[in-house]
Symmetry: C2
């Protein structure tokens, strides 16, 4: 007996989605998204102090997120300001806040 199975997403879309989700699926990186969803732009230093994350580590995270298209950055004097490029990303957090998974 054969079962008819429905699905909507092709391999390519799934890979793109997983790629973006992976980029965000980390407490610090989620915190960055959260922070930037409420503050239009912040310097590396602002973020580092607020989240209490060491400068170099934070820089690595920010650059990864920029590379993957989630953030943008603009240099101004000594500082570099990061902001959310992808507005839909904070919605992920909202989606998940309702979930009731095992932890």
């Amino acid at each position: 007996m054969e079962v008819i199975i429905n699905y909507k997403l092709n391999r390519e879309k799934l890979e793109k989605a997983a790629y973006i989700l992976k980029t965000v699926a980390h407490p610090t990186r989620l915190a960055i998204v959260d922070l930037l969803s409420m503050n239009a732009r912040l310097s590396v230093n602002d973020i580092s102090e607020t989240l209490e994350v060491e400068q170099s580590l934070l820089s690595h995270h920010l650059i990864t997120m920029k590379l993957k298209g989630i953030l943008r950055s603009e240099k101004e004097g000594q500082s570099v300001y990061y902001s959310l490029k992808e507005k839909d990303v904070p919605k992920l957090i909202e989606c998940i806040e309702h979930c009731d998974c095992n932890m």
Copy 2:
């Protein structure tokens, strides 16, 4: 000059969110969510054939997802049927489909 910075999520919430996102942030696991969002329940074999994923690997994925509270399973005869436990999870895919990130 001090900047006032707003944020909404505490460490605990961020960690929970990252945990759930990580569980889903994989092409095969996203495909499983997609599939089960359109088909109330499917056996391991159904999923394995549809996604063309080797049985043992799929089993590992399914068990992980169940363990983390995203799927449930029920045994019937030789088969084990999996279904979505966490209804909000497919929304993540939708959120992301609108994104225009770099790939």
